[in-house]
Structures are given as structure tokens and as C-alpha cells.
């Protein structure tokens, strides 16, 4: 498709050390983007992903920051701008789960999931837009979920955050559209990663495709949304779910 071309910038993937985030980092690096792999705690996994990219001839740096901490986010942006340029592609992928029925879900677990999955995405988006609107080019890709648009018992916090992320995607998209900046969401369904390893098989039986998706299948969509060719796609949500949300 198309990478940065002559643009001096990079791609930043939050929660990029493992799973869907790592696959997206690899896919964007293959497009020619220097990639910053943000991680909170798993430095080893982030480094492994960076090394894999380097082995394929790409450029990557691992970037530690807890996205729920505003000062760490600002510091991370300054580090990546100094090392590999401003983030012209931002993939808000960092996410956590903390499942319980609403009847027994603690406020702390509600807040923690909202902070990481929604508020942090606003924080990084706001920061990244500064360079994007000046560059008259930018791609924000929010990794939402089929949960949010669709119900999933035990995930009221996660569903609220992901539905909120889709709402934010649409509104920010219209705010910045005429600066050449697109903002889209990807809504993965059941994807085989560490995060979903503990789920029982009942969800799988609800998937029309009768299989879990792969991180690479999600990454292929991110790769498209980040491309030059996707310049007229904005405010949309691309479901990658084997038909689960259809």
C-alpha cells in the first residue's frame, strides 16, 4: 500500500508489545513506517517485537509509558519525536479487561478499564493531533471491539469504554477531516491472543465464521486504514469479527 513516503514521521502503537498491537506494529513497519512500540510493563516482549521488525529491515523503538499517566504520555511523545519523528500514525490499542457482572463490579474496576481503554486514547489522540494537523496528514486508528456495539455479559465496563471509543472516533474524525487527518476504529471480535486465552468456548460458537481471528487479520485492516489510499475513510468502524457483530 503506502508508508510514510517523504513524510518525516513515525507510527506509534500503544500496547504494542504483544497480541494485536504487536501484529499492527509489524504490519506498519512493513509499510515503511518507523514504529514506536509502547508498552507498560513487558519490556522483553516489546523488545522482541522491535527486534523482529529490525530483522525484517524495518525500524522500531520500544517506548515505555503507562498511558493512564499524563506526564508519562507527554514524556513518551517527546522521546519518540526526538528519536524517530512525530507520530503521524497513532494506533490506540492499549487495553485491559476486568470482567464482572454489573451487580458486583467494583467502581475501581470500572474506572481502571475506562481510564486505560478510553481516556488514555483521548489523551494520546489529543497529543498526536498537534503534529498531524500541522503535517496535513494523520491516521488515528482506535482499536475498539465488537463488544460495545454488541452486548457481552460481564463486560459492562469494557463495553462502555469501547462504545465510547467508537463515539470519540466519529466526533474527532469530523473535527479534523479537512486537515487530511483520518480517525477510524477497528472492532475486533474474538481474536486469539493472551487477552482472550481464558475465555470459554461459548463465545466461539456464536461466531458465524466458527473460528477465532488472528492478530494478523486485524493488523491487515490497520495497515489499510493507515495507508494513503484510505484517505477518504474517516469516522468509520471496521468490524473484524468473523460476522459476530453482523
Amino acid at each position: 500500500m503506502s508508508g510514510p513516503g517523504k513524510r518525516q514521521g513515525c507510527a506509534l502503537v500503544t500496547g504494542g508489545s504483544r497480541g494485536i498491537g504487536a501484529a499492527i506494529a509489524v504490519a506498519l513497519a512493513a509499510e515503511g513506517w518507523p514504529v514506536a512500540i509502547n508498552y507498560r510493563s513487558d519490556a522483553e516482549a516489546a523488545e522482541r517485537t522491535a527486534q523482529r521488525i529490525a530483522a525484517d529491515g524495518g525500524r522500531a523503538m520500544s517506548l515505555q509509558a503507562d498511558v493512564t499517566d499524563p506526564s508519562q504520555v507527554e514524556d513518551a511523545f517527546q522521546r519518540l519525536e526526538a528519536e524517530i519523528g512525530p507520530a503521524l500514525v497513532l494506533v490506540n490499542n492499549a487495553g485491559i479487561r476486568s470482567d464482572d457482572l454489573a451487580l458486583t463490579l467494583g467502581e475501581q474496576e470500572w474506572g481502571r478499564v475506562l481510564d486505560t481503554n478510553l481516556t488514555a486514547a483521548f489523551r494520546t489522540t489529543k497529543r498526536a493531533l498537534r503534529a498531524m494537523i500541522r503535517a496535513r496528514f494523520g491516521r488515528v486508528i482506535n482499536v475498539a471491539s465488537v463488544v460495545g456495539p454488541r452486548a457481552n455479559a460481564g463486560q459492562s465496563n469494557y463495553a462502555a469504554a469501547k462504545a465510547g471509543l467508537i463515539g470519540m472516533t466519529k466526533t474527532v474524525a469530523v473535527e479534523v477531516a479537512r486537515r487530511g487527518v483520518t480517525v477510524n476504529a477497528i472492532a475486533p471480535g474474538l481474536i486469539a491472543t493472551d487477552m482472550t486465552a481464558d475465555l470459554d468456548g461459548t463465545l466461539l460458537s456464536a461466531v458465524p465464521a466458527r473460528r477465532a481471528g488472528t492478530p494478523e487479520e486485524v493488523a491487515a485492516c490497520a495497515r489499510f486504514l493507515a495507508s494513503e489510499q484510505a484517505g477518504y475513510v474517516t469516522g468509520s468502524t471496521l468490524f473484524v469479527d468473523g460476522g459476530l457483530g453482523a
Binding site: I133, R134, E175, V176, R178, R179
Partner: protein, 82 residues
């Protein structure tokens, strides 16, 4: 840094910015309203960013909301840098 900023420098930055947002060069006068130049809230947000980078001052949305003309924008920035 802010002590050395002149009104002419501010005006130049404002005019260049407005031009880059698509305003007609000939229409950019001190009395021209931002509305008549088709300058909207996104443009003003970007102008605030440019001003912050160039002059080291932060303009908040509530400050900028009071700005109606090009002259208002110049005056606000000059006032904040002095």
C-alpha cells in the same frame, strides 16, 4: 523570549497562519472578521498551537472564543507576550 516580540512579528505570524488555513491574502486586514475569512474553531486551535510554538504563550479556548477580528487576535497575542 516574550519581551522581544513586536506587534509586527505577531501580525506576520497571524497573517501567514490565516493564509495557510485558506484565507485570501488580500482579504486579511485588521478589521476583517474571522467569520468573513472562513476561519473556524479548528483553525483557531491550530493558530493557538503556532503561537505557543513561536512565542511560548498558551492561549486557551476561552481566550480565543472572544476573538472576532484579525486585529483582536493580534492584540490578544501581543498582550499575552508583553
Amino acid at each position: 523570549m516574550s519581551a522581544a516580540v513586536t506587534e509586527e512579528q505577531v501580525e506576520q505570524v497571524v497573517v501567514e497562519s490565516l493564509e495557510s488555513f485558506g484565507a485570501e491574502k488580500d482579504a486579511i486586514t485588521r478589521d476583517a472578521t474571522l467569520e468573513s475569512l472562513d476561519i473556524d474553531s479548528l483553525d483557531l486551535a491550530e493558530l493557538s498551537q503556532i503561537v505557543e510554538e513561536r512565542f511560548g504563550i498558551e492561549l486557551k479556548g476561552s481566550d480565543v472564543a472572544e476573538v472576532k477580528t484579525v486585529g483582536d487576535a493580534v492584540s490578544l497575542i501581543v498582550e499575552r507576550t508583553s
